[in-house]
Amino acid sequence: MGAAAGETSGAVNRSGMNNVWSIVLASAIVYGALTVFMAVIPGTVLSRTKPTPGTHPLTAQESRGRDVYVGEGCAYCHSQVVRPLRQDLVFGRPSVAGDYAYSTPELLSDHRNGPDLTNIGTRQPSATWQYIHLWNPRAVVAGSIMPRYPWLFELKSKSAPNDVVVTVPPSYAPSNGAAIVATDDARALVAYLKALKQVPLGKGGAGK
């Protein structure tokens, strides 16, 4: 600190917005209020949305499958929301607020590197297809860029009676001829995908 510092130190201005606490307080008050109005209140109100009639909470197995879906980051490529736009209707009817009543953490997503899965349980009801697709998507969709999920399966030389054995085209099968057996995670995930079904909006429904 030289003489020059002495010149200014006596003249530090701490009035108005030159007081650091004014900046901290003004920022906190304005932003705090906006956070309440734009996040807390809308969040509170929308969290109480009534379920669309006909929707049910997931079963324990489906719920576990949902956890696999979340943990593996499926939502980075698959959305779960159908917009009221013509190009989206291939995936189902437009989504309504009540469809998400049992959906936490939410999985709407803003990515569609793969197709929307809102209604995949109706559009692709085959568990067999889902297992093959999870083992190697290219076994059923030639141009697919979806990752393989081999860790959702076990290779067994001899399968047990209760095992879900997945039969895949020879070129995608293990070279040693082992059986591809779905793990509990895979079975839960497929159960969840099969449960992804939109309920129709009929009379007395949420579309009213």
Partner: protein, 483 residues
């Protein structure tokens, strides 16, 4: 309007020096040098790590069967890429720069150094734990930029609060007469982000669609109230410092601060257009997305008008070109964000890779380039060690061409995806249409990653490298302690 430098203003002492301003060394305490160096070094580690992950991800588009291990799978690594670039790289780099700028403009060394060190440890701890848990498939939900489980995000909030406290303490104890505009932005950024993070952590109002509303708010504010504010604050210091002239307009800076603060929090729902969120809520977000042109044009205009007529200085500098590109991408990327928010365009571009192009235009073209400009501007002044012009030039051109190619490739890819959907083609045709552009993106990503390796080498030279005190440096006359 034009504010003339005050007789004792922070930029006055440089005015009569004829050598390149970058050859001047700040008079900095050794512990402050250690702080800035440590923030920058760990941030650089996270940049390298997170973009190595990003590069791997980009090659998974053309080669989906490659690296098919759960720990290298797309769904797990993607969140690691985004969170580590956000909270490892950009947060640590800009926090270090903000603390240093706070000290320079206050005329005193960084106050509350222990808070700053703890903050640095917290950021790194959170990033390490977040990376491990995400790779094990443990997360809070596929909620962009808040995938880390709650206790890791709590560590992150603590790190932000501790570093912010060090900055506030520094500015509170200043010997300079006024609080420089940089500190408005950076202090604001810390305050907003603490509030935002706490609001995003509380679960009571985050069920189903309620969580969608909070997520729209969070994901946009994490970018706009944190990185934007820190980057603008640092630019308000680095740009006039390097150009050796005052900022064009202090008033535009203040206008930008308040309009950013009021408009930004309202636009989050534009990430969820045409969803079951209330229609008026989406419309409000679109209206204020247009309002965002005010702070964006005020800020970028202010910077460009400060640069006007000084292109020769910029050409000779190795830090300024990064700031020029950063400001240009701030203007372009944010203006693009406004246009993208219109319903007519969202109906095509939403869900497509156009969004990923936009996020790289802003988080990379804007935020990362400003962080680089700040590091090249501040670090050599603190340590007295400069990187070579060749290495810096290579870094600059690889990164600039890389990110531009990246954004263009994904903008085209996204447009094609949206158009094939609108045409009613089978879904797979959108994959086929985007495929060549994904290859282009992987090549662009490779250029960007090479730039990061050169940058890491430069950071090493500027911090741990051998001393360069051999008459090459012009020691600034120690006439005054500040800034």
């Amino acid at each position: 309007m034009r504010i003339e430098p005050r007789p004792h203003g922070p930029f006055r002492t440089r005015r009569r020096v004829s050598v390149s301003v970058e050859l001047l060394r700040d008079n900095v305490e050794p512990e402050d040098i250690a702080l800035l160096s440590s923030f920058t070094l760990t941030a650089t580690f996270w940049l390298l790590f997170a973009t190595a992950v990003g590069l791997l991800l980009s090659f998974k588009f053309p080669y989906p069967d490659w690296a098919a291990s759960p720990y290298l799978s797309f769904g797990r690594l993607r969140a690691i890429h985004t969170n580590d670039t956000f909270y490892g790289w950009a947060s640590i780099a800009l926090t270090g720069a903000a603390l240093y700028v706070g000290s320079r403009t206050s005329g005193i060394p960084i106050a509350g150094k222990r808070l700053a060190w703890l903050g640095l440890i917290g950021f790194n701890l959170a990033a390490v734990l977040g990376t491990i848990t995400l790779d094990l498939g443990i997360n809070y939900g596929d909620q962009e930029y808040r995938e880390w489980v709650w206790w890791i995000r709590l560590i992150l909030v603590a790190a932000i609060a501790l570093s912010g406290a060090a900055l506030v303490k520094t500015v509170a104890e200043r010997v300079e007469r006024d609080i420089y505009i940089s500190n408005w932005y950076t202090i604001g950024g810390f305050v907003f982000t603490i509030i935002l993070s706490v609001a995003a952590l509380l679960p009571q109002y985050q069920f189903g669609l309620g969580q969608v509303a909070v997520q729209g708010f969070f994901m946009h504010n994490a970018v706009g109230m944190w990185f934007t504010f820190l980057a603008l604050g640092v630019t308000y210091y680095a740009l006039p410092k390097l150009l050796n002239r005052p900022i064009y307009s202090y008033a535009l800076g203040v206008l930008g601060f308040w309009t950013n603060l009021v408009f930004y929090p309202i636009i989050g729902a534009h990430h969820f257009e045409f969803t079951p969120l209330p229609w008026w809520f989406q419309t409000l977000a679109i209206v204020f997305s247009v309002g965002m042109l005010v702070p964006v044009w005020a800020g970028s205009g202010n910077f460009f008008l400060t640069m006007r007529g000084h292109w020769e200085t910029i050409r000779r500098s190795y830090a300024l070109p990064f700031i020029v590109v950063g400001v240009a991408y701030y203007f372009l990327g944010s203006t693009q964000g406004t246009i993208e928010a219109f319903r007519s365009l969202q109906s095509i571009w939403h869900f497509t890779n156009f969004t990923i192009g936009h996020s790289h235009a802003t988080m990379y073209g804007f935020i990362t380039f400003i962080a680089w400009g700040a590091i090249y501007a501040l670090l050599p002044r603190a340590t007295g060690k400069q990187p070579s012009a060749l290495a810096t030039g290579l870094h600059f051109w690889l990164a600039t061409i890389g990110v531009t190619a990246y954004v263009l490739a994904l903008s085209v890819a996204g447009t094609l995806q949206g158009l094939t959907w609108a045409a009613g083609d089978p879904f797979i045709s959108s994959v086929d249409a985007a495929d060549p552009y994904w290859v282009a993106r992987a090549i662009a990503g490779t250029m960007m990653f090479l730039a990061h390796i050169i940058f890491a080498y430069n950071v090493f030279v500027m911090t741990l490298g051998p001393s360069q005190e051999s008459g090459k440096w012009v020691r600034q006359p120690a006439k005054r302690a500040a800034p």
